[in-house]
């Protein structure tokens, strides 16, 4: 019986997957979560610290990244790790890319507290091109809630762990994404499908860097709100991981649309430890 049975949308337990700890076998700090956990686990090898850290992974090896099922989130509740004090959750960073990667020939006007005074609502204005940033944040929070994040943080708190919510990697440049899209099975299918259905099949459908950075920032705000509402601490990505435009620095790219590499994770661990964030 799952301890997380109240989280309906979570993937059902897959009996073929065995979850185990990578890193210290008696950890005080444990990182759990979606696909970005993989490079965080690999990077642990190069992190020298007195802190006892582990990442919850699958025993088949860290290169395979099955989506965490109910058994994954149950693991540390069922296998009492007496040394464990802190849990870091990393959550679905790809959301900002999957849902917002493609522009689908729509125009956008992101409206917030600062710029709404500049927009005059009138008959001639295409009001459907306007989207309030506040609604995007609320949408993200809804996603997180419906997918079980609030419940996971809540139940870990209930078991007296100190909980952290770690930000996901910032977006990559449009130039890079266009250059690797042909290798990406998931995004390529999405891209081809939208291109097929679009009026202008030759148009550039990848959303510009500026918009993807802004949407990623809004996602961070939603993660922060979720952390606050569940009594967790939000860990933002340090500023020096991105360029001036807010795009992830190229040296941290993994060769796909959304993931950061081991060097990124190593630097992130080191920053979190040296600045005593965890």
């Amino acid at each position: 019986m799952s301890l997380l049975k109240r989280i309906l949308p979570l993937k059902k337990k897959n009996e073929n997957i065995v979850w185990n700890l990578i890193g210290d076998q008696n950890p005080e700090i444990l990182l759990v979560g979606h696909s970005h956990r993989t490079t965080m686990a690999l990077a642990l090898r190069n992190v020298i610290t007195s802190k006892k850290i582990a990442v919850l992974m699958e025993s088949s090896g860290p290169y395979k990244i099955p989506y965490p099922d109910t058994g994954y989130w149950d693991f540390l509740l069922k296998n009492k790790i007496s040394s464990l004090k802190k849990i870091i959750v990393i959550w679905q960073g790809h959301l900002s890319l999957i849902d917002f990667l493609l522009s689908a020939e729509q125009s956008y006007k992101l409206v917030n507290e600062k710029n709404l005074h500049e927009i005059i609502v009138s008959d001639s204005l295409n009001i459907q091109s306007i989207v309030l940033e506040r609604e995007i944040i609320n949408t993200f929070e809804n996603h997180f809630h419906n997918d079980g994040l609030n419940e996971i943080l809540r139940i870990y708190k209930e078991h007296n762990y100190e909980t952290f919510l770690l930000s996901s990697p910032p977006p990559k440049s449009k130039i890079f994404i266009n250059s690797i899209l042909h290798n990406e099975v998931f995004f390529k299918e999405m891209y081809d499908e939208i291109r097929k259905n679009s009026i202008n099949q030759h148009s550039d459908l990848i959303l510009g860097d500026k918009y993807r950075v802004r949407i990623w920032e809004l996602m961070q705000e939603a993660l922060q709100n979720t952390a606050i509402s569940t009594g967790s601490k939000f860990i933002p990505i340090p500023k020096n991981f991105t360029d001036e435009q807010g795009i992830l620095r190229e040296e941290y790219y993994l060769n796909d649309v959304s993931h950061a590499n081991e060097m990124y994770s190593e630097k992130l661990w080191k920053t979190l430890i040296s600045e005593e964030v965890i």
Binding site: D99, A104, Y108, E113, V121, I127, Q128, V131, I137, H143
Partner: protein, 344 residues
């Protein structure tokens, strides 16, 4: 020879019985011959949400003038985005609909546009919408977009469908604004010195239907105005009568006013979904709560609606329609909020 001897079959109950109380009896051939619609907008009480759902994928375009932007397309809860042509939620009374059109035109500005209790903002006229973390300026901006969308729906449609639902209305004593639900039930705070109950009379409703039609025609001179009466009973009454008597009284007034308004205006039509559901061959048209109509029966009524107004299906996805409707009834129907005050 007498007036009855030359009347068509449809004028005799015997014929209705002979047709085994079949819904096709209700098709008005004269209207069917002439009625052409390419773009439909709608509003009304919760039964009206059926219209938007069932007119998807048909030969007519159902207008959504206030859609979720693709950026937020995957939002799980629709927050009233896809229930009607704009994001107004349920409009139960003629007074509420008239007020909305006047607000969209800018000829009426309520004193209370926002309810701010210090923790959250609410729209008195759309209490079911979540404005979590909105600032007041963001709220006012969203409101402007909303009212612009309402106006666009009227401008762009060739037929506007309105379903009359209730006659009991909560009103602001000072500026005479009316609300979809009593302040304090979903949002706001009830203050008897500020708000009062109003029970619209037949005369009020007839007059307001005429005013609505005039206002719609002023914005869109070629508009057709199609009205229906919701068969869904009231959830609660704040009057002294019991709920059954209040409901019957209310529906009777709405029906009388609807017929009178249609008789007086050549661009107005009445679709008898109320009678179809109350008077069809089966007594079992409502789900177990005897309140909401079974989806399959709504589908049958909407089939007649489409035949009546020459609307052809281009694709049918029954499950999707039913899912959207049940989500709507569970999440977005403001009147259902009164139910929580009933002691089991």
């Amino acid at each position: 020879m007498n007036p009855y001897s030359s009347l068509p079959n449809k004028n005799f109950w015997k014929h209705f019985k002979k047709k085994n109380f079949d819904l096709s009896f209700f098709i008005d051939e004269e209207t069917q011959r002439d009625f052409v619609t390419k773009k439909i907008a709608s509003a009304g009480s919760c039964f009206a949400a059926n219209v938007a759902v069932h007119l998807q994928s048909t030969s007519t375009e159902y207008l959504f003038e206030e859609q979720k932007h693709p950026f937020i397309a995957n939002i799980k809860n629709s927050y009233n985005y896809e229930s009607y042509s704009a994001r107004y939620g349920n409009i139960y009374s003629t007074r509420q609909f008239l007020q909305l059109i006047k607000r969209a035109k800018g000829t009426f500005i309520p004193d209370e546009i926002i309810w701010n209790n210090g923790n959250e903002l609410n729209d008195p006229f759309r209490p079911g919408i979540n404005f979590k973390d909105f600032s007041e300026s963001e709220f006012y901006f969203e409101n402007k977009l909303h009212l612009e969308a309402v106006k666009r729906a009227v401008v762009r449609c060739d037929t506007f469908i309105f379903t009359l639902g209730l006659t009991e209305v909560w009103m602001n004593k000072k500026d005479k604004s009316v609300y979809p639900s009593c302040p304090g039930v979903i949002a706001g705070t009830f203050d008897p010195t500020k708000y009062e109950l109003l029970n619209l009379t037949v005369n009020d409703i007839s007059k307001e239907l005429q005013e609505i039609n005039d206002e719609l025609q002023e914005i869109n001179p070629k508009i057709k105005f199609l009205i229906t009466v919701s068969p869904v009973p009231m959830v609660a009454t704040a009057n002294l009568n019991n709920i059954v008597l209040s409901n019957q009284y209310s529906k009777s007034k709405l029906l009388v006013a609807a017929h009178e308004a249609v008789a007086a205006n050549s661009n107005m039509y009445y679709f008898p979904s109320y009678y179809m559901i109350i008077r069809s061959h089966t007594d079992n048209n409502f789900i177990h709560d005897k309140s909401n109509v079974k989806p399959e029966f709504v589908t049958n009524v909407m089939k007649i609606f489409k035949k009546q107004f020459n609307i052809i299906d281009t694709k049918t996805d029954k499950n999707e329609s039913n899912d959207r409707l049940s989500r709507y009834l569970n999440d977005e129907c403001e009147e259902i909020s009164y139910d929580k005050f009933a002691i089991d």
